[in-house]
Symmetry: C2
Subunit: 124 residues, 2 copies
DNA sequence: TTATAAAGGCGACATCGTCGCATTACTTAG
DNA sequence: CTAAGTAATGCGACGATGTCGCCTTTATAA
């Protein structure tokens, strides 16, 4: 199960790097130059998530968005920062502010999914 | 557009009150005694959300979950508390801990959707 | 009791994410 | 440089989710 380098992987990663934001499968497909199958894009994205290259966020629209792991804590496999989704430009960006919470005794948190929705500065 | 009292509304509200947790449409449909159409349940739930009786949370599975607004700040139309989804019993509960965040200048937050996923105390 | 309009049932639809299978193409051994 | 092995892709299909339109039913007030 060793990964291979393919034009598809490269193209997807380039798109996400250029945008600097979290993107959905359909947004990536629209922006990508070469023609890639929908299922393939999902597989590439999920593989990147498994490898710790990307992390996945689910927004209020129920869709999955994928973003580069820049300052993500890979050792803990957690991405405990807020995400902001602008309802105008429809993009999601990672915010620097960390998620802090307290949970009741006996609870075990394995994943964090925090999305704020509103209007970003360039759209307001 | 004045609301009417119907057996459906009552039944849905009873289920949510008894459970004390956030529930999805299919969970409500399974637990409800009378037979209610899927679309109708969604309409009832969305109406309750419009009226400030319920609030909606989108979990990592992309599904919508609905919970009673108990201590929710109805004046601000925000429900800024964490939610916890247990991956074992598949239920979502509202946590008392509030969501605190700081956003960059010029950003306007209209909605908050924070879900922690893991294992609750009774399931661990 | 009746008019009216909200609510429900039913069918259909679009979207999203995944899976299986056959094919392609990247990688490494030789 | 070539060929074998297998990861990756394309394609079609599927189930699940949430919404919408249209017609019927029913709660409510006159």
């Amino acid at each position: 199960m060793k990964r291979r380098n393919t034009p598809t992987k490269e193209a997807v990663l380039n798109i996400l790097t250029e945008s600097g934001k979290a993107m959905s499968q359909d947004a990536i497909e629209r922006k990508i130059a070469i023609d890639i199958n929908r299922a393939t894009i999902y597989r590439v994205l999920n593989r990147f998530c498994d490898d710790g290259v990307l992390h996945k966020v689910v927004a209020e629209d129920g869709k999955q968005y994928f973003a580069l792991c820049n300052g993500c804590d890979e050792t803990h496999q957690k991405h405990q920062h807020f995400h902001f989704k602008c309802k105008v430009c429809e993009t999601i960006e990672c915010l620097p502010s960390e998620v802090n919470f307290s949970i009741p005794e006996g609870y075990l948190v394995e994943n964090v999914n925090c999305v704020l929705t509103g209007v970003c500065d360039t759209c307001s």
